[in-house]
């Protein structure tokens, strides 16, 4: 990072500790083993389509780690699916994951580029033809047929710089990668 970029980023505060992130990047370049993380979730069936997932432990930096507290997520389906609507649908959690990942990325990249954010709002919409999951038409896939993300960003930057922020956020986003590229999934029963 050049001296000018550092002084520019000191003036802005998006609440992102870029120095710590850049320090971690430098440290992990030297110790790539420590960069191997494992993310975990558990999910228990409650009733009907209602389930409750919890997230707390993860592995990284060569050791077991833990969130400060256990986070819990109820998932269900809405009443039009003849369900009780005790929580968001699983596919909405995918949108939540994508939106929050891209938004966090926008904040981090903006901090690194010395751009002060005033507000960032992402609005997502994903199309899905439920003939797939209902098994009506085998030519229709189960998942989304596309996802549209619209960002409204108020920041001290030009339109082009804001577009570049959003582009770089996608380039470095784990969830964007997960939803745009294939991933091997192994499901077992014990």
């Amino acid at each position: 990072m050049s001296a000018t970029a550092t002084s520019a980023s000191n003036k802005v505060d998006n609440g992102v500790n870029v120095e710590a992130l850049l320090g971690a990047r430098a440290a992990l370049t030297e110790a790539p083993e420590a960069a191997r993380f494992k993310w975990r979730a558990t999910c228990s069936w409650v009733n009907g389509t209602h389930s409750r997932s919890t997230v707390q432990s993860f592995f990284g930096l060569g050791a077991e780690q833990s969130h400060k507290t256990e986070f819990r997520y109820d998932a269900d389906h809405p009443e039009v699916f003849a369900s009780e609507d005790n929580g968001a649908t699983p596919v909405e959690y995918v949108l939540v994951g994508l939106a929050s990942c891209l938004t966090a990325g926008v904040a981090a990249v903006a901090q690194n580029r010395g751009i002060q954010l005033r507000s960032v709002k992402a609005t997502l919409e994903a199309g899905m033809d439920i003939q797939g999951i209902l098994g009506i038409d085998s030519d229709v896939r189960n998942g989304f047929d596309g996802i549209k993300v619209v960002f409204d960003i108020d920041a001290d930057a030009s339109k082009e710089d804001i577009a570049a922020l959003v582009a770089q956020s996608q380039r470095r986003s784990a969830v964007f990668d997960i939803v745009t590229n294939p991933t091997n999934v192994a499901v077992e029963v014990r």
Binding site: A167, F176, T180, N181, P182
Partner: protein
Amino acid sequence: MIDAAPRRRPLTGTVDVVVIGAGHAGLAMSRCLSERSIDHVVLERGEIANSWRHERWDSLRLLTPNWQSRLPGYRYAGADPDGYMTMPEVVGFIDQYARIVSAPVRTGTAVTSVSAADDGYRVVTDHGQWRCRAVVIASGAHNIPAVPSLGAALPRSLQTLTTKEYRNPGQLDDRGALVVGASATGLQLADEIQRSGRQVTLAVGEHIRMPRVYRGLDIQWWLDAIGILDERYDEVDDIVRARRVPSPQLIGTPQRSTLDLNTLTERGVEIAGRLVGVSDGKAQFSGSLRNHCAMADLKQGRLLETIDAWAGQNGKRDEIAAPERFAPTRVEDTPRLSLDLTSGRIGTVIWATGFRPDYGWLHVPALDRKGSLRHAGGIVDVRGLYVLGLNFMRRRKSSFLHGAEDDVHDLSTHLAMYLRDSAKAVSRAPRKVDLTKDHHLGHAANAVAAVAASDWQLGQDGQMN
């Protein structure tokens, strides 16, 4: 001179420096070493300019205009400064350079091993051995096609070609082709294969978009003028990333035309995202195409703004055409995410996915965990070892033909000091001197004299007539 060289020198011997590779970079280094009277030999596995001669497709022309083609003491002086050399012309250019600089080249001599020996190196070839104090690796960055591992999952019924093997569309059957990679190479091959009447699908990841001509001047003129080509490895924020940037989407044609994804779309090429998997005979493409195109458009826009700002400050405003902005890359609403490779529609997959250097013969601890040479601007972090011609090695232009000039000047200066200082260290510690090695001191004396005499010599870059 070249023909006489094998009779002048033994097949096996001792020199101060072994240069591996008689391409433009190795020959440029040879010229600088000769100027400093540093005893050296250039070992070449094949012929002079071997890769240009044997490992390029038929229609390829340089991506840089003729006026930019230069090597130390030598530059293009033909009648078409704005044109782009064909491969036979590049070979002729380099061949003539080898003759003019009287490079001590041994052709047909493949290096099989470089290892440390005493205070220098042992270089083993398929035609004898050399001992030397320093080695310059000028064998290029385009040795082994970098085919992604997912290539192993392709249906065996398909023909696959790397860009090292591809020559022209006549090698393909009449069916369609999947071209993987959107650098200059991928776009050029997609274009000519589509024009040959075969339907091309192009897999596009991160790429660099540039117009061939901007405001009436070649984009390379602008890149040179605004200083981008001279940017040094120690001036950029993230050199590792900068070295991975793919080559800009350019083509050299007599029409000086621009070749970008929009051009290809107009010609009927189907644009898909990065190839990310092959499963059940189907190619899978990333859903990230839109972002990759948006990034390339933004980067091109920034480059043009930089150029316009430079032109405004440097009095170029009146002499040149008005600023232009180009249409954003058109991306279909729903780009293809998969392609059935078993349907019979596709006959060939072409890997335009780049190359990596081959260091299989380098038995010196100089590679990092990813197999790349550890070096600072071409000075490898093992004493007496140097490299040339890698992407953004010392400057952004390092991998270009005209980029060798500044690099070999810097590195031959460093190399001469290394030879002198290591010889001094030996003379200051006489108890360590092995009398069987006293010939090194003689060479070192030559090197000191050469350095002292070199200041005026290096300024005399005569033009080729």
